[in-house]
C-alpha cells in the first residue's frame, strides 16, 4: 500500500510534464481501443448467429410434443450415448456414436455411424440421407422431428 501511494504521488509529480501526458493518453487510448474492439466482437457474434441461422434454414430438432427443442448450431452434430457427443441420449438402445448430422450447401444430411440398432428416416433404415423439413428421425427408441423454426415465431 505504501509503495502504491508512493507510486501515485510520483506519477502525479511527473505528469506535470507535457510529454508524460502524451504517453499516458496514448496508453489510455490503446486500452479504450481494445475494449471497444471486444464490444464490437460481441455485437458481431450476434450478427453471425443470425446469418448462420438463416443459412441453416432455422432448423431444430424437436420431439412429438414439442417439449424438447435442440437448435442446430454447428455444422456437424454428433448424436449418441457417449458423454462427448453434442446430442446425447442416455438410452441403451442408442450406440455410443450413433449418427452424424452435417450441413452441406444448406441441406442437412444424416449419416449413420455403424450403429447397432440403425438409424431410420421416415421409417426407412438409412446409411446417409438428405433431410427435408418435418422429416421423422428415429434413433434407437427416440423419435425426433426436423422442423423449421422461424425466428419471429419464438
Amino acid at each position: 500500500m505504501d509503495g502504491f501511494t508512493e507510486f501515485l504521488g510520483e506519477f502525479a509529480g511527473r505528469l506535470s510534464a507535457f510529454k508524460e501526458i502524451i504517453t499516458a493518453s496514448a496508453l489510455i487510448i490503446i486500452d479504450i481501443c481494445a475494449l471497444v474492439i471486444i464490444c464490437f466482437c460481441s455485437k458481431e457474434k450476434k450478427n453471425v448467429q443470425k446469418q448462420w441461422s438463416k443459412s441453416a434454414r432455422h432448423m431444430v430438432l424437436t420431439d412429438a410434443e414439442q417439449k424438447f427443442m435442440f437448435t442446430l448450431n454447428a455444422k456437424e452434430i454428433l448424436m449418441g450415448r457417449h458423454i462427448s457427443v453434442d446430442l446425447r441420449f442416455p438410452d441403451l438402445s442408442v450406440s455410443r456414436y450413433h449418427a452424424l448430422l452435417t450441413l452441406e450447401n444448406g441441406i442437412w444430411t444424416l449419416k449413420d455411424l455403424d450403429s447397432k440398432s440403425g438409424t431410420y428416416v421416415n421409417g426407412q433404415k438409412i446409411n446417409a440421407k438428405q433431410l427435408h423439413p418435418n422429416d421423422e428421425i428415429r434413433i434407437g427408441k427416440k423419435i425426433l422431428y426436423l422442423r423449421r423454426m422461424r425466428p419471429n415465431v419464438q
Partner: protein, 447 residues
Amino acid sequence: MKSLKRGSRLITLMLLLFLVGMGILIAKIQSEAAFYISNSGSRNLGFVYDCNGDILFDDNAEDGDYPAGYFKDVGNLIGDASGQMTNTLVANNMEYLSNYSFTSGITAKGGKAAIYSTLNHSANEAVYSSFGSKNGCAIAYNYKTGEILVCVSRPSVDPITGYADLEDGSLLCKPFYKTVPGSTQKISTLTAGIETMGIDKLMSKSFTCDGTYVNKTGKEIHCHNQYGHGTQNIAEAFANSCNPFFAQLVEDNDWSLDDIINVYTQMGYAVNGAESRYYSIDGITCSRASTDLENKNEFNTQWSCIGQGTSMVSPCQLMMWQSAIANKTGKATMPYLIDHVTNVNGRTVKSAETAYSEKLFSANTAAEVKKIMLENGENYTGKIPGYTLGIKSGTAQVKNGDEENSLLTGFVDDDDFPIAFAILIENKSEYDVTTEAVANEILSSLS
C-alpha cells in the same frame, strides 16, 4: 456444441497459462530491477552524510569541489564507488545509494537517495590530525546506542586525489582488522578469572613479581619493570600490567585450561583453530579475535593470556567489550555506522536500531571488571582530565620485536556521555604522540 466448446476451453487454458507467466514476469522484474541496474554501466549514486550533514561521499566530486584532504579521514572507512576498496561503507551499501526506482526508470539527476551515517566528521577530522605523523587507528562509539562516532585509520586515502603512490595499509580501515593486543589482553584474562572463580576467590590470590618469573616448564616471563612489583592482588596487578602475576595466575590450580577456553570462546575468540567468525557492521566486515591455548603451564599459552603469543584482537572488538563492561550486562552493544537511509524520493527506508550481542560473560563479572577498570582509570586523571574512566593500556610487540604498538582501550562512566573507545598507535616512541593524547582529543571533540 460440446465439441466446439472443447476448442474454446483449450484456448482459454493456454491464454490463462500465458497470463500467469506474464504476471510472474512482471513481479520478477519489479523486485529485481535494482539488482539489474547495479550490474549495468550507468550509475547515479547519492551522498553519504555524517550526523551533522557533512558530505562524506560524493560520486561526482572533482578536484577543487571540496577543501583539500576533506575526505582523507574517512577515505578507507566510507570509501568510494571505484571498486578499489571492498570493505567500505559505500562498497557494501551501493544499493541504498542508487538513485533508481522502477516506476521512473533511471533518474538522471535530482534523486534523493542518501545514507546518513552516525559519524561525527569534525570530531573525526580532529582525531585524525591529532595523530601527528604517527600511523595507527582509533574508534569510539556510544555504548548505549551503538552509534559509531569516530573511526580513524592512518595511513588513509583521499579518493579524490586517487590511488597512486599510497603508503602500505592505506586502504585498510584498521579498527576492523585483528592485531596483537598487548596488555589489553589482560582484560580478557581478568574476565575469565572472575567468570570462573568468582571475584572473592580471585581477589584472595596473591602472587609475587620480582622482575622475572620462571614458569612451570622452565621458561622465563619478564616483567616490563625489571625490579618487579612485589606482592600484588589482581586489581593491583591489573593496574601495574604485571606479566609474572598473570603468568602465575594462569598456572593456578583453581581453574583449568578448559575454563579459560570456555570463557574466551564465549567472549568471541576463535580458540585453537576454531572457525574464524566476523561481525558485519552495516556491511563492513570486522574480524573477531583468535588465540591458541594449549597448555596452561607453557610459555606460548601464558603469553597468549598476557598479551602476546598468538592472540589477535581487533580494536573494534576491544571497544565492544568495553560496552559489555560499562553497561554491566555482559552483553556488548552492537556498533553501527548507518543511522538511516533515504530512497530516491526522500522517504526513509531503513532506520538503525540498537542491538546487543549474545551474553559474553555474566552481569556480575561485568560489574566486577568495571570496578577494577575504574580503579585503574583513576591513575589517568592526570593524563586525561575531566572524566571518570575505566581504562587499560597495552604495548604490543610486532614485526618480530622490531616495533612496538601502543594501545589504549576504555570507557567513560557517565550516562550522559557514554563513550567507549579503542586506540592504537603504531611504532610508539617516547617523544611522539601518545594514546592518551588521542583519547583526550576524542573526548574533547565529542563532548
